[in-house]
Subunit: 327 residues, 2 copies
């Protein structure tokens, strides 16, 4: 079986067009965000919407629950859709919902989305107080049932805490190294080294605010950043988490940034004069463009097997050891 | 593999004691009620409580999801617990919750509990208007995903409608024949014949209000009723659904009868002077007593294979053809 192609973070305005582009791009599995600020019941409604798509487009997509579903996707020419949350809001204040969500298929959960949560501190807070009392309990429960701790939007101390506390490798599903582009959302060498040493995964983001030179970033620069990160934490711990927000209206980025937590407008990585979604780089508009990244990785000197790993094989190995209950 | 012993309806005040008695009684699978009037979120809390029990007593019980789990229970000396609802309240007004609940393991859902619901009419209403518009849609969705339509507490017309509309055999998980004891909750010959002709199942109840002579009912009379029902609808369509409400305080029967739908007190099958749970018959106090029924079935003339079927084999066959999605 060929090494699979996996994009470990998308949040599109889902449609038949988007699902068909996944097939055209040879994407075997996608981790999709089904909650930014939604509470339990609202997130269940988002699962219901996906259930309708699964029923409507059975030849294009199906729900992925375990690593074996990536193989099934390859064998049947479809894309396996894995659910995840960018915020712990779907578990509200109830640790029992971790197992409920695992049963419903959630495989990744961020402990924070930019702000302080019940579990940890987000990367936009002035003070990062680390993993909370409830956070420690929830990390342990996520480890038990097989839900991956995702620290993409967390602060440095909270992220280091999570790496240390978690009994299983964690993930930063969509962020880039600070050494390449020093954004609040990108990660320090300290975090990346600790992540790699514990078998954790970094998914490289193509969201323009995370890229050097933003929308004008070149694919060569992107591939060079990946090569330098491989030197730091090992090519086997790297993958793609495109953060593709395809076909979304600007109201959605406002929702992502503001949820229901503020009455004034927070522009996040944008600004009042550039409040909407930034333009995608020319070499990555949708799921059909993964070939551009693959070619650039070859050019920058990665071996065939390293490229295969970064384009999906590494995520597959990580899925295989992460999604089942402990023991 | 020996024919399994299955009790297709219990609602105990769950405890280690109750689970150990299931093992002592050789009960391989139990369909347990996890909702009477609970809404979606409240029923999820009830699943969470069971998840704790599964975690706490892994050597006694585990969650059953498919017929194969009954075999697993037999092989590992445990009891498989299958979830069900006595009311459609856990799906609220949202048909998308049928599939969500199937994923969480719900395998039986009553369309009504005594009263009119959004789906059908209960057996205590003055007028039975049959399956509603939403009811037809939900029956079809239950058929699609593999959730059994249970009409134990429904009116006659609604029950006949469900038998006719459903693409898959339905169940009356816990009720007895009216010809033996004419209670509102028991079922007419017309219903029982239609049920049997479509491959549906009747689970015999040992709840005293459903028994001839109530708490004084003899096991011989109970076995004779089963024999006469076998003549009417076939022994292969009969099983046990004890309706055992072990160790429950009387406040629970008040909740079952009144939920949140009335401010006055409804006594259901009881009365103001006998408002609590009735005494169990002497031959069935808990899961250790199934041998008494098995012996009485032999005495009343059933063959060994018929007894095996009624004590669990018939439910197992029904599970096998009912719990997986259509197609």
């Amino acid at each position: 079986m060929k090494t699979p192609r996996i994009d470990n973070l998308q949040y599109a305005n889902w449609s038949e067009k988007v699902f068909r582009q996944m097939r055209e791009g040879g994407v075997d599995a996608v981790h999709v965000t089904i909650a930014y600020h939604e509470n339990f019941r609202e997130t269940v409604l988002n699962v219901e919407a996906f259930n309708r798509w699964f029923e409507q487009y059975p030849d294009l997509i199906f729900q992925g629950k375990y690593a074996s579903d990536v193989k099934l996707a390859q064998e049947t020419g479809r894309t396996a859709i894995f659910f995840g949350f960018q915020n712990p809001s779907p578990i509200e204040d109830d640790i029992g919902l971790v197992e409920i969500w695992h049963t419903l298929g959630a495989r990744f959960m961020q402990l924070t989305y930019n702000n302080q949560s019940l579990l940890a501190t987000g990367c936009y807070e002035a003070t990062d107080s680390g993993i909370t009392r409830m956070g420690r309990e929830v990390v342990s429960e996520m480890n038990r049932v097989g839900m991956v701790i995702d620290m993409s939007h967390s602060g440095e101390r909270s992220t280091m805490d999570a790496i240390e506390i978690s009994r299983r490798p964690i993930a930063i599903t969509h962020a880039n190294p600070s050494f390449w582009h020093p954004a609040l959302r990108n990660k320090s060498d300290t975090v990346l080294k600790a992540l790699g040493e514990t078998g954790g995964m970094l998914g490289f983001s193509m969201y323009p605010h995370h890229l050097k030179d933003g929308s004008d970033c070149t694919v060569e620069s992107f591939a060079q950043a990946i090569a330098k990160t491989a030197d730091l934490m090992g090519a086997e711990n790297l993958g793609i988490g495109s953060d593709l927000c395809q076909d979304q209206p600007d109201s959605v980025v406002t929702w992502m940034r503001n949820g229901r937590w503020t009455k004034t407008i927070d522009y996040g990585e944008g600004s009042a004069s550039a409040a909407g979604f930034p333009d995608q780089p020319s070499w990555f508009h949708d799921s059909r463009d993964f070939g551009n990244i693959e070619a650039a990785l070859h050019k920058v000197g990665f071996s065939d097997s390293e490229v295969g790993g970064i384009m999906g094989g590494n995520w597959l190995r990580f899925y295989d050891r992460s999604f089942k209950p402990e023991g």
